[in-house]
Each structure stands twice: as C-alpha cells, then as structure tokens.
C-alpha cells in the first residue's frame, strides 16, 4: 500500500492494520523517518518537501512491487508526507509484514534504501540564513546499490 499525503499518520494504527486479520504474520519491521533540527551546522526551522505527483506514486508502487518479488511479504506499506514539516515531525513510514523476521527486516531496509534514491521527493531546508535544497548523499547511493544485484541479501 502506497500513500503520499500532507497529513501526519498514526504509526501504531498503521502497523496494527498491516497484520490485522492475517494470523500468518510473525513479524512486522518498520522505519519512521523524522525531521531533525540540524541542517549542516545550522538550526533547521522548517523543511519543505516537494514531490512529483503521479510519478511519486508510480515510483513507490514499483519499489513496493520489487520488494514483494524478492521477499515473501504478507503486506507492506509506504506513507510519505510532503509539504511543510518542522523538526520532530514524521516524514515517512515504511513497514513490512512477513511470516519470518528476516524477510521483514530486509524488505523494509530495501524499501527505505530504494525510496531514498528513486522516489521523486526533494527536501528544502529552511534556516535563519535562508533556504537550501538538500544534496543527494553518495552514502544513499551506496546503500541502494547493495540491492542492485536483484538478490535478497544475507
């Protein structure tokens, strides 16, 4: 399931829904991304999250389909917010449900890694000094590249 929205989400309710009515789920792995208060050396006052409506949903659905191809998932969920966020706000929830924990963990990490390098979102940090578009991190490319072989990792 994919959702792109301005509104916050209820992490507990979303995770509970992922395994509701499915007694084959043994583990749910989840990641919640939050806005930190630092932008480099400066204090972040706000973060603007821009995205490409239409392509975002398609990119996330493609990533989710790839995870389901690689791991035996009972369910998965990506919720990504856009718009203006403040330090401490939730940005993203990625969650996976599987019979076994290792599949859930790996698929969750895969989804986050690929989302960070493939889904068309852009962060703009606002500080007292003005605003600045966040640069893509080469570490994120490295993380994402781990999964390029098409194999589930160890």
């Amino acid at each position: 399931m994919i959702r792109v929205q301005r509104e916050d989400f209820d992490t507990g309710a979303e995770l509970a829904r992922l395994s509701a009515d499915n007694l084959g789920v043994g583990g749910v792995a989840a990641f919640v991304g939050l806005v930190r208060d630092m932008a480099g050396d400066e204090t972040l006052t706000a973060m603007e999250l821009e995205h490409y409506p239409g392509m975002t949903e398609k990119a996330l659905a493609d990533i989710e389909a790839e995870a389901k191809r690689r791991w035996p998932l009972e369910a998965s969920l990506i919720i990504h917010r856009h718009g203006t966020l403040e330090p401490g706000d939730r940005i993203v929830l990625v969650a996976t449900a599987s019979a076994h924990r290792q599949a859930a963990f790996e698929a969750c990490q895969f989804l986050v890694d690929w989302l960070k390098t493939k889904a068309p979102f852009w962060k703009r940090e606002e500080t007292a000094g003005g605003h600045r578009w966040v640069d893509a991190r080469s570490a994120d490319d490295t993380q994402a590249a781990r999964w390029e072989s098409g194999k589930a990792a160890g």
């Binding site: 991304g33 999250l49 821009e50 995205h51 490409y52 239409g54 392509m55 398609k58 990119a59 990504h80 940005i91 993203v92 986050v112 989302l115 960070k116 390098t117 493939k118 889904a119 068309p120 979102f121 852009w122 962060k123 703009r124 578009w133 966040v134 640069d135 893509a136 991190r137």
Partner: protein
Amino acid sequence: MKIVYFAWLREKTGCAEEEVSPPESVTDVRGLVEWLCSRGDGYAEAFADLGPVRVAVNLEYVKLDQAVGPDDEVAFFPPVTGG
C-alpha cells in the same frame, strides 16, 4: 509537449510547468534541453551542468538520448532526497 521542473530547476527556470512546441529538429531529450536553453538565461543556468539533472519522460527515468514527441510529459529535476 508538457515540461515540468522541480526543486532548484523550477527555481532557476522560474517555471513549474509549461506547454511547449519545439521545432521538428528536436527529437530527443538532449535536443530538447539545447532548445530550452535558447529560451532564456534562467534555462541556460538551470541546464549549465547536466551532471546533477535527472530526466523522466511519462513518469519513467530516462537518459538524454531518449526520444520525445508532442504528446510526452518531460520532467527535469535534481537527484532525489526523500525518505
């Protein structure tokens, strides 16, 4: 042809979205970028270095040699930073 710009490409071109009718000599993304650059300083600045520019045609990532035509939606944006 519909063109959309995001993040600093939107800011530099001063445009979020536009309908354009490039000449018939424009057949791929690279040709489209060259033609767009001729339209003003903001465009020339936005596309001065294509290294950090990503392109999608009809919502799919493509390379500069991707063919484009009148019915396509072409998007230009920097490397993504979501999550």
